[in-house]
Symmetry: C2
Subunit: 241 residues, 2 copies
């Protein structure tokens, strides 16, 4: 089985909106719906777990009913997110384990709710990469020269730009391997987690790059939102033609 | 003296245009004119050297006559760019040295023609930083998690994001120090130069960060161009109000 996970339990209300940003609408439809649609579009993905903070669970249910038919809804599971990233991940994994026996070939894809334009290629490459390597992350080659500075004042190193990548999402793992990595994390490491890539790095295990896409950007600012609107409007124009 | 340098000798014709991108118009005015205006706006900057490739010299002259008054034009010098970055830099520095005696307090600011929205703060901080530290570069804290991979496949390191900065421009130096660094570069190093920051790093000399600005982005894509148009249009609206 391939389990898609949409991490949507953040409640940051930036960009002047009254709702967390994954619920802000682009061209009349919430960002998270585009993200779920992108996952639905990939046949390999059998189930889509949507991790949502408690107060938004009923709202999320309404959204799923509004935007998806029954067959599509049958693929989706809403899970309550936790206080910390690790709690959310645990809730999702536990929920999977309660419903299914794990198999060697199982894969879990962790994606950000606010990266709605993830491409089919990224999702498919992530799954096949995870099967081959155990763990993958989508990365995009850096365009700018990057400067390393430990104190934020003096530049210690200007690495070869070709060796630097922007980490996007998803992070994708063979499920059994992911559980193994999770079980090895110390309590301190669990507290310090900011992303699922660290399940590898904290365990000194490799994670492999799959090719990201500029379209797969994270919507965090008003400017990002405008860009997202332009993308959706252009797609609509193309559909009309 | 403080010498501003606008590096505009690139002839890359991307973005479907027939002219190098620094000459593309935003709201009816070429990008490079905005960049020169930003430098003019900083009183500390005494002279503005504009490095242009041979075939564009007369066009550049016309642009300066069109957009600037005589007093402003009096501050500006057009210099022919060379084939390689190092040649362009040499031409500019030689041109300065032909006209002026250097002084300990002289500063040289190398800026990209296609970063038209460089702020006054960045330019002023660059000058005072160069006086204090010898060499500065504008850097913007990374927003994304950055991944280091030597082979582009396996992630070798995920550095603490707080230690990673996007290198912007300008690069700014005490002029005498810059000439000293230049004279120490080997021929091989000169060939490998892609930016002026490397005058420091190739010599194992430190370069210091000054705070960049998201506005100070490089226009390299059609999307950047749209963003630039939005910024200019918003500024015009504010002026009207």
């Amino acid at each position: 089985m391939v389990y898609g996970v949409v991490l949507a339990s953040g409640v940051g209300k930036r960009m002047g909106a009254d709702i967390p940003k994954q619920y802000i609408e682009i061209a009349g439809k919430p960002i998270i719906i585009y993200t779920i649609e992108a996952m639905l579009d990939v046949e390999k993905i059998d189930k889509i777990y949507i991790a949502v903070s408690g107060p938004y669970i009923s709202y999320m249910k309404e959204l799923l009913e509004k935007y998806f038919d029954e067959a599509q809804q049958g693929k989706m599971v809403i899970v309550e997110g936790g206080n910390e990233r690790i709690d959310t991940i645990n809730n999702v994994v536990d929920c999977i384990l309660e419903s299914y026996e794990t198999e060697k070939s199982d894969v879990i894809i962790f994606h950000d709710a606010v990266r709605p334009f993830v491409t089919r290629k990224i999702l498919e490459d992530s799954v096949s990469g995870a099967v081959e390597f155990g763990a993958t992350v989508a990365g995009l080659p850096a365009v700018d020269t990057m400067l390393c500075s430990n104190d934020g004042k003096r530049v210690d190193e200007i690495p070869d730009r070709a060796t630097i990548f922007h980490g996007q999402a998803p992070d994708t793992f063979r499920l059994e391997y992911f559980i193994e990595l999770r079980n090895k994390l110390s309590d301190d490491q669990k507290k310090r987690l900011t992303g699922t890539s660290q399940f590898c790095t904290f365990n000194n295990k490799p994670i492999y790059l799959i090719e990201g896409d500029p379209l797969n950007f994270k919507i965090t600012s008003v400017e990002d939102l405008r860009r997202a609107e332009m993308i959706v409007n252009e797609r609509k124009e193309k559909e009309v033609i």
